[in-house]
Symmetry: C2
């Protein structure tokens, strides 16, 4: 696969969301112009992004919504099951566990973990919160029985986030989605002295969510409303 | 101001987050190369994005972290107070109200509203949840006394999101941040028959948060780890 910019992957996720919205509105056809307008990018960008992954649609006739949606889900890896554990089961962790739609993409929450004794044993979405100390054992058992644990979502206070990430790495997950208000990177853990150069971090993917990004963008656009609608970035 | 692509604004928010992280690690200088690597874009893109807003740093010497951070906060409108109401005070609304950092950007939650009788009167962050029916009056009172209500955050179930948005528009907020799993656009409300062509929506900015975007990206990068690190998009 050719080198694909991370920004293109983010846009694919945006296009997928648009396609879902179209599908739920029973709209069966779309075009690069239509997707572009809804995504706030140029039609050229849409076609370029899709072209990384194949030939979609018919020139001059646009795309069939359910087909393109299915293709993007395949590209993004969303036609397989992903087993997820959540670390941190306060309000945010519970909000994540209860947020609608994850199962549409075959994300299954298989375990919830916390350090707070008051939360251990709490029932959330049919799962009983366990102590974080039992995470590794839990992942091992899962690997031996019903399948791997692929991802860990971190929803703990910022000062606990790096340790939660380390625990997930040691437990053997492949990817971490960090909702805590601090950026976690493998090198960050090195500098924090938590371990030696990141052998066991090799291959673990970390995505940091900027939970406050939307409100910061909103502030800008309230002050500059004329810039909200279109994307006028020129492309060669 | 020249036309600035929406993608550039999103990147500015990313650069700001990086600068905060650097500042909290007591790193006082950075460069477009450094910011680029951390942001997953090219140094050219960083310089181009910053150039929309002024001349920063010293050629060949990079940027002073606290100065650049302050400038980006000014550009993004984060050096003024934003008064926010939250619609929907279940787990997600409470998680938003309690998420650390909003006050660092002078976002102040001034009111919480819900439709669920069991939540009315509940204390969250020192605020007592009110019924959504009192929102307009609340905003009016605020305008007459301690200042406007600028933004409404929507954290309700998807089927209630558009009505919540309509209520916020009628109450007079300038911007809406929608965390519900449905895309809200002014034209959506037209089609839903909620009102005639969007006179009162003129000027109301809507940002839709894709709460599940991070996990979809993570799935892709777990399957394609070699694409995670760098942004190789060529720029003219």
């Amino acid at each position: 696969m050719a080198d694909i910019p991370t920004a293109a992957i983010s846009r694919l996720v945006t296009y997928l969301r648009i396609l879902e919205q179209l599908e739920s509105n029973e709209v069966s056809r779309t075009s690069s112009n239509d997707l572009a307008e809804r995504a706030g990018v140029t039609a050229f960008q849409v076609r370029k992004d899709l072209a990384y992954f194949g030939r979609f649609g018919t020139r001059g006739m646009g795309y069939t919504v359910p087909l393109l949606k299915r293709e993007l889900m395949r590209v993004l890896g969303l036609n397989q099951t992903w087993n997820v554990v959540i670390i941190g089961t306060g309000r945010l962790g519970q909000a994540i566990a209860n947020y609608p739609g994850a199962s549409d993409y075959r994300f299954q929450y298989v375990g919830l973990f916390d350090i707070n004794p008051e939360l251990i044993g709490k029932e959330v979405r049919g799962l009983s919160v366990k102590h974080i100390g039992s995470l590794s054992e839990f992942v091992q058992e899962k690997a031996n029985t019903s399948g791997r644990v692929d991802m860990g979502f971190i929803a703990v206070p910022p000062e606990q986030a790096q340790a939660a990430a380390q625990t997930l790495v040691e437990a053997g997950v492949k990817g971490i989605l960090n909702f805590a208000p601090i950026v976690i990177q493998p090198r960050t853990l090195e500098r924090a002295g938590l371990h030696e150069p990141a052998d066991e971090w090799h291959g673990v993917i970390i995505e940091n969510v900027d939970f406050l990004a939307g409100m910061k963008r909103l502030a800008f656009y309230i002050l500059n409303p004329h810039l909200k609608i279109t994307d006028t970035e020129e492309h060669a």
